[in-house]
């Protein structure tokens, strides 16, 4: 069953689509940010998966091991996680400011408030 062997990639695709759908379909600004986070998380898993070398151990040099997993994607993803946290923080901060300015964080009500004024 080759498809099962790649199950982590299936998880990536499911998370990616679920997150992307949330960003597009939800009108609530906080839910959109959560969706965006899920979307980004799927990419983290994609990177971590690709670092796996068949039969390799954790990349710490020690006797008796000759085959190691690739540590580089993990390091890259640490950076991407920081970026993701910063994006989420900024997005939520904007949502707070929008709530102060409009009194709502529902997209359709915001649009209505802007067209009336």
């Amino acid at each position: 069953m080759w498809a099962f062997g790649l199950y982590n990639y299936w998880i990536v695709i499911v998370l990616m689509m679920a997150g992307f759908y949330m960003v597009i379909a939800h009108g609530n600004l906080v839910k959109k940010i959560i969706g965006l986070n899920v979307f980004q998380t799927s990419v983290f898993i994609l990177y971590i998966s690709m670092g796996k070398v068949g039969g390799g151990t954790a990349p710490i040099i020690s006797e008796g091991f000759t085959r190691y997993s690739n540590p580089l994607p993990h390091v890259l993803i640490l950076t991407a996680i920081v970026v993701g946290v910063a994006t989420a923080a900024l997005g939520l901060a904007l949502a707070v400011r929008i709530k102060e300015a409009y009194g709502t964080i529902e997209e359709d009500e915001i649009v209505k408030a802007d067209t009336l004024s």
């Binding site: 994607p73 994006t87 904007l94 929008i98």
Partner: protein, 493 residues
């Protein structure tokens, strides 16, 4: 010592200066400090470009880690030129900013504004100078996150929603970009752009690389506001503070266009992008749709900043046309227009900044007879507008001339017709503003409006003046653009 480390200094100077701005907290000192930083990045960029023009591309190993493993900064004619554009725009915007921000941004937030501005500058310079695909993503996010903050500083509450919308679309774009880079890493095991370019040809036929190409194209397309992906741009430009609009309009999308060119020509190579895949046709179609669609929408806008924002989408269409032709002439036109549009649109948004400063609005109804009361400001608008239309003796003419030449060379008559029609549409939307400003009576009851302060007028005229200067004296810009285009076409495997 300093000369050897110029590529690192280009990015490090504004990066270190940004947190210092927050610590200084005194409005006038922070401004002077930021001005100094922007001017020093300009000096560094100038030195780098002159070095590259005399000795050829230079490579800098960050932290002394050798190239394919460590992060490499690589400066060639193309990104040396881009570095000069970005840093000189920042150096011209800063004198303008001092007066302009006093009316746009609450006083206690001004030091924070300068900090975010410098971070944005860091990100943009970093994107341009780096030779590492993942490092590019990091700088992309530095510049994007700080530009969301900058946009949200606008006075109108719609600035907040505009920044939020940009954040969502920008993050999706950046995430697509990382997915693409990850897939490329899967197939090649390298992140260095030159190394990627060398190793990709062996695996180009795989579906993974095809998927990577798709993700990268759409991701970067979101960032550069390629026609159907431009929805974030008009609101962001309209409601952002004047200075921010000037800076972002003149640099951010241009840098994204550069990334596009870099990935197409240096990494994937012309044969794959333009012969195996029909990207040329797609770019030409989207470029034409952008030119005609966005120009038409621009005609019906009542807010002049929004009108210019739609015009920006159209101008990006012209650059895509140049890239889509995949010939030396087309690429020269694209790179040339990148520079020309940066100075024209920067100048035009500065004019709107002056109007905003004096009137507090940029709605077309408020501009009745403004040409008589702010003669210098509106004269700048007319000259910049002529450039957008593409009248001879302005830079706009030069880039359109080369675009038309490139299109004729390839026999794309439809593209030629589209470029000419786009110029006519530009004439219509520029004329709407000119007509209101010069040929409508000045309202009697309105309070007296004076010319904008000199500290804002001079930077405006510097940018507008360069559109005239480079419209006549074209050897520098065309020479550099042509050299960069040849370099890109040759390097393609």
């Amino acid at each position: 010592m300093i000369l050897a480390n110029l590529p690192a200094l280009q990015v490090v100077i504004p990066l270190i200066a940004a947190p210092l701005c927050v610590l200084i907290r005194h409005r006038a000192i922070v401004w002077g400090f930021t001005l100094l930083v922007c001017w020093s990045t300009l000096v560094v960029a100038g030195l780098l470009l002159s070095q590259v023009l005399t000795t050829g591309p230079l490579s800098y190993a960050l932290g002394d880690w050798a190239a394919p493993w460590g992060i490499e900064y690589r400066v060639d004619v193309l990104n040396g030129f881009l570095l000069l554009i970005v840093s000189s725009i920042s150096a011209i915007v800063m004198p303008f900013a001092r007066e302009s921000v006093t009316k746009d941004i609450p006083e206690n937030q001004i030091p924070l504004f300068y900090a975010a501005f410098l971070l944005c500058l860091t990100g943009l310079l970093g994107i341009v100078i780096t030779g590492d695909a993942f490092n590019l993503f990091v700088f992309l996010e530095i510049s994007s996150l700080s530009s969301y903050v900058l946009i949200s500083l606008g006075k109108d509450r719609r600035a907040l929603t505009a920044a939020y919308q940009y954040l969502i679309m920008g993050s999706i774009g950046a995430t697509f970009f990382v997915i693409g880079v990850g897939l490329l890493y899967m197939m090649t095991g390298t992140l260095n752009m030159a190394d990627l370019g060398a190793r990709l040809p062996k695996v180009l036929h795989t579906r993974t690389v095809l998927a990577a190409f798709g993700f990268l194209t759409v991701g970067i397309g979101l960032k550069l506001a390629m026609f159907p992906l431009h929805l974030w741009l008009p609101n962001a430009y309209t409601y952002a503070p004047s200075v921010v609009t000037v800076f972002l309009a003149a640099t951010a999308t241009k840098v994204a266009v550069y990334v596009f060119v870099r990935f197409f020509f240096t990494i994937f190579g012309v044969p794959f992008v333009f012969e195996t895949l029909p990207v040329g046709t797609i770019l030409l179609t989207l470029g034409l749709a952008g030119v005609l669609g966005a120009s038409t929408v621009a005609i019906f806008q009542t807010n002049v900043k929004r009108l210019l924002a739609y015009s920006s989408v159209a101008q990006i269409g012209y650059m895509l046309l140049g890239i889509g032709m995949a010939s030396v002439t087309g690429l020269t036109a694209g790179i040339l227009h990148l520079f020309n549009h940066a100075i024209m649109k920067g100048g035009l948004f500065m004019v709107m900044g002056c109007v905003m400063y004096q009137i507090g609005s940029v709605n077309i109804q408020q501009l009745n007879g403004i040409g008589k009361r702010m003669p210098w400001t509106m004269a700048a608008f007319v000259v910049g507008g002529l450039g957008l239309i593409g009248v001879p003796l302005t830079v706009g003419f030069m880039s359109k001339w080369y675009l038309v030449l490139g299109a004729i060379e390839k026999g794309y008559w439809l593209v030629v017709a589209g470029i000419l029609l786009g110029s006519l549409l530009a004439l219509v939307y520029i004329w709407r503003v000119v007509e209101v400003a010069y040929f409508r009576p000045t309202p009697q009851e309105s309070p007296s409006v004076q010319e904008a302060p000199l500290s804002m007028l001079i930077p405006t005229w510097i940018l507008i003046g360069t559109t005239l200067y480079f419209g006549v004296e074209t050897s520098l810009t065309i020479g550099t653009a042509d050299q960069a285009a040849r370099f890109l076409m040759e390097r393609s495997p």
